[in-house]
């Protein structure tokens, strides 16, 4: 979509997960998982509860040791990056600051460790709109404010790769829209954005690519449109008219597949909305509704992961 728009970071921020496996005592949380994440695109990381998303992201960031396999960012393991915060920003869970520390001090602690100037803390706090709460203690933050603080921390080093685990959790509608714009803009700048989420309608708006896993294994990877298109679900046109019988007859003559839904609306497959409109005009049918129903990510996701035990 926007590959190669910005040169300095493009090409160096590719994430490669290869043969990644994590065996906990009783569960194989991640099982021989391989996929790639490209710079300049937002990649959605999807899977049912307990699929292994968080475990995968934590292995990518050297927080959890893999049983087998490897994960690299720009060709290097996270542990081998010099100045990791200047390369990778991560938002992992909402409640990861000392309860008694103020938001601004939380960021200063991280900035100090990464050798970043103190002023950077104020900048990122403003970036996520948290400046008014800068001097309040973390325990007084709402869920959404915590989430924003996490995003601010991730942006401290102006990284070219962003990894987010359910960042939309707890954000209000305004916050979700802000985040969508924010992440899309980062990707447009050529950065790599990997984001896990359960909000599939949101993902459909946000992601360019998706990686779908279930039970620790890869189910499907690719551009959103391709993944959706690959499934049996097809685009249908929904049309409501008092002259349903006449219109259905006319459409079937054009080899369209017409079904009637319980509310009496026609669901037309095989022709586009324009064709339906033209047919309606020809048989003088009065139209009350004419909408194109695209198969959505949610439907495809549920179909792909059906039967794959989520919680193990």
């Amino acid at each position: 979509m926007s590959d190669g728009q910005r040169s300095p970071t493009t090409g160096s921020g590719q994430i490669v997960v290869s043969g990644l496996t994590k065996q906990y005592k009783n569960v194989r949380a991640v099982n021989d998982l391989s996929f790639t994440v490209e710079p300049g695109r937002v990649t959605g990381f999807l899977g049912p509860n307990g699929a292994g998303k968080t475990t995968t992201l934590r292995m990518l960031l050297n927080l959890v040791t893999p049983t087998a396999g490897s994960a690299t960012i720009g060709g290097r393991r996270y542990a081998d990056l010099t100045d990791p915060l200047r390369h990778v920003g991560a938002v992992l869970e909402a409640s990861s600051a000392h309860k008694g520390r103020t938001g601004i001090n939380h960021l200063r602690v991280i900035a100090a460790a990464a050798g970043l100037p103190k002023t950077r803390a104020d900048e990122v706090l403003a970036m996520v709109g948290l400046t008014p709460a800068a001097k309040r203690k973390f325990k007084g933050y709402s869920l959404g404010m915590k989430q924003r603080l996490g995003i601010a921390a991730a942006m401290l080093g102006d990284p070219r790769v962003l990894v987010l685990d359910e960042p939309a959790n707890g954000l209000d509608p305004e916050g979700i829209r802000w985040m969508r714009g924010f992440l899309k803009a980062l990707a447009t700048e050529g950065r790599t954005v990997l984001v896990s989420s359960h909000l599939l309608s949101e993902m459909q708006l946000l992601a360019d690519d998706v990686v779908i896993i279930a039970a620790g294994q890869l189910i499907r990877q690719g551009p959103v449109d391709q993944v959706i298109g690959s499934m049996a679900q097809t685009t249908r046109v929904r049309v409501r008219t008092p002259q349903a019988t006449e219109l259905a007859k006319a459409l079937r003559e054009q080899s369209a597949v017409v079904e009637v839904d319980p509310h009496g609306a026609l669901l037309v497959a095989g022709v586009d909305a324009a064709t339906v409109g033209r047919a309606a005009l020809a048989v003088q049918a009065e139209l009350h509704e004419l909408t194109t129903e695209r198969p959505d990510l949610e439907g495809v996701f549920l179909e792909l992961t059906a039967g794959k035990a989520g919680i193990r």
């Binding site: 927080l63 990791p84 990861s96």
Partner: protein, 274 residues
């Protein structure tokens, strides 16, 4: 260096250190009064009042030793508080789930623990400095008012000051070690405080019984394997048949700090942060 700065900032931006500092100051005040009374009683010859065996009483009747004891007042609880700071420096990371953030900014976990060790010894130094200045001023006043002389020229007294510093640094480091071994905040704080306060008494009693059973005073010297006994032996210059030489205490304490520190680093390197 950045990491040490970050660790110190972590401590400064929370309230725990303040409570520990208040506790340590209170301990200094109480201990100083007690030690001053003890010094006065023994040095003016009322030692039988304390009910000690004669040779022990004679050992106590040593002006330099009493001065050293006085100048390191508050050590007992002060060390407990710096150890708790050390414990909190590690367990806070797990309790508040900041370990994730910390290890994201520094994936080299050994460096993180080392910077905590350095920051911890700096804090130990500050605690020592403040308590020592208080003890120095008050102690010198007390000693000269009572005509015992300040004794500050004595090497034994100077050594007590220096080794008190070593004790503060080592106990903070020991706290870090305990924190990495027991990451559960409450578990670590309770364990270390109980072992320090009660465990020492219980073990002393055990050694006392053992020594009377074996009819050997030498057994009592083995108390030095307890870290808290080791550190008071290290600072104390009083030569007593019940206690081994100061350097034994120093070695034991350094040993504890090195062992807990090393095990802590090894464990932390392997731990899954999830």
């Amino acid at each position: 260096m950045n990491l040490v700065r970050s660790e110190l900032l972590k401590i400064r931006t929370t309230a725990a250190w303040l409570w520990m500092a208040l506790g340590a100051l209170l301990a200094v005040a109480l201990a100083f009064v007690t030690n001053a009374w003890l010094a006065h009683t023994t040095l003016t010859g009322d030692a039988d009042m304390l009910g000690l065996p004669p040779e022990e009483a004679a050992a106590q009747q040593d002006v330099v030793g009493q001065a050293a004891n006085l100048y390191t007042s508050g050590q007992y609880f002060g060390l407990l508080f710096v150890m708790l700071i050390g414990v909190l420096m590690v367990t806070n990371e797990f309790f508040h789930q900041t370990a994730t953030t910390t290890f994201l900014s520094t994936p080299k976990r050994t460096s993180v623990i080392f910077s905590k060790l350095v920051a911890a010894s700096l804090i130990g130094f500050v605690f020592w400095l403040v308590t020592s200045v208080i003890n120095l001023v008050a102690g010198a006043l007390f000693m000269s008012i009572n005509d015992f002389g300040t004794q500050l020229g004595e090497w034994e007294v100077q050594r007590a000051f220096l080794f008190n510093l070593l004790a503060y640094a080592l106990w903070t480091i020991l706290g870090i070690g305990v924190g990495t071994l027991i990451t559960n905040q409450i578990g670590a704080v309770v364990t270390s405080a109980v072992v320090y306060l009660i465990g020492t008494q219980v073990a002393s009693l055990f050694f006392f019984l053992l020594s009377s059973w074996l009819d050997s005073e030498a057994v009592l010297k083995w108390q030095v394997v307890l870290p808290s006994v080791a550190s008071s032996v290290m600072v104390n210059s009083i030569e007593s048949p019940m206690l081994p030489a100061w350097w034994v205490g120093a070695l034991v304490l350094v040993g504890y700090a090195v062992v807990t520190g090393t095990i802590g680093i090894l464990i932390t390197r392997r731990r899954d942060i999830s």
